[in-house]
Amino acid sequence: MNKIIYIALGFLISAAACRDADDDDVFSSDEVNAVDHSALSNTKTELELEQFATWVSDKENNLTKNKTISDINYQLAYLPKEYMAYTELKQEKNLTQERFEEVKKNYTGMTYFKFRIETKSGSGELLKYKLSSGQQYNERIDYMSFRMQEDIILVQGKDTLYPGMYHFERIYDIAPFATVMMAFDNKKFNPDGEFTIVFNDHLFHKGYIKYYYRTKQLIDLPNISGVWPYIKEQN
């Protein structure tokens, strides 16, 4: 009889655990990513350039921020100057530290962001999404090319700042998203302090889309230990 009671209790306890286990599954993929990533998430970690680029792009590190409002996804990614130099130079085979530093210098003085808008369904050209007329398509292109930069501001304390550089990368229907590169002048705000980037959406009319960056978030980055894997091999 004792055995039966113990078995029944054991069964009940394991059954009770099932629900929590189910709940855990909801975040299991995120947790796996977080665990995988933990080795890289220490800001004092030394990373090779390619790993650094992966670290920057990884959403777990919060430099890339996502916001989905019903059917539209908005993504803002902070791009450190090292990352900018990396994307410019990654095709070069005989890359040296000096060359990397030289290109990196070109990106100092500004804080770069990539802003991407895409449909949740992820198909077709973004600017053709839910079009009411052909005219509207032209208006959207015009908006993204020129007027949208007036709807993006960086807010720090009571100061607001428009992008000092803005570029709409038109890719037609190659991909179901539209990308904008923009940069803010470091002399006009403090990149080490907290700030919010606000997009007043006049494209799909979703209102203000805000992204908050905490104090020192842009400088809490891993150190780069080597510029390119094969430089080490050459050495």
């Binding site: 009889m1 004792n2 009671i5 059954a15 009770a16 099932c18 629900r19 019903s70 209102g207 203000y208």
Partner: protein, 173 residues
């Protein structure tokens, strides 16, 4: 005697645990929100309310200015009631004032509706995000309209219902 007591305690534990497990495993996690309260407490609503007030005030100033000019003209007209040019200009301006006032009323209503739609869209999205993040099964909106703010996908029986209603319609069920 001791053995009997142990059995009784064991059985009692079993019953309590069964009830607890039933609650944990089979009762949906249902929460509710006071929709007007969260709508009014939403920062975006406060910001857009300010934005709306500013736009409304600017438009009102335009109307006030037109109204003031009309009042001056009305006084002039009172002094010179036979001045036909003044009469026709007054009529024209009065007509224009009414048209503009109607237009501004419509624009204000449209702007208010647009802002409300944007606020509700973002608010609903963030409530859904909360539901997913906190493993809720249902979040109900306590606004008297039976609004469902969030539902876990596993509780979605739409496909099952489609089959059922079609079977009913075809006379199979």
């Amino acid at each position: 005697m001791l053995q009997k007591t142990i059995y009784a305690i064991g059985i009692a534990c079993f019953i309590v645990m069964s009830i607890w497990i039933y609650h944990t495993c089979f009762t949906p996690r249902v929460k509710y929100v006071d929709v007007p309260k969260i709508f009014n407490g939403f920062e975006m609503k406060k910001e857009f309310q300010e934005k709306y007030k500013k736009t409304e005030a600017i438009r009102k100033r335009v109307l006030d200015s037109l109204s003031f000019k009309l009042q001056i003209m009305a006084k002039q007209l009172k002094a010179n009631p036979k001045n036909e040019m003044l009469v026709s200009e007054f009529d024209f301006r009065r007509e224009d004032f009414f048209k503009r006032r109607d237009q501004i009323d419509q624009d204000n209503a449209a702007l208010s509706a647009q802002y409300d739609k944007q606020i509700l869209e973002q608010m609903s999205q963030y409530i859904m995000d909360y539901g997913k993040k906190n493993n809720c099964d249902l979040i109900l909106g306590a606004d008297g309209n039976g609004t469902l703010m969030y539902a876990n996908e596993k509780m979605n029986i739409s496909e099952e219902i489609i089959g059922y209603i079609n079977d009913k319609y075809k006379g199979i069920e």
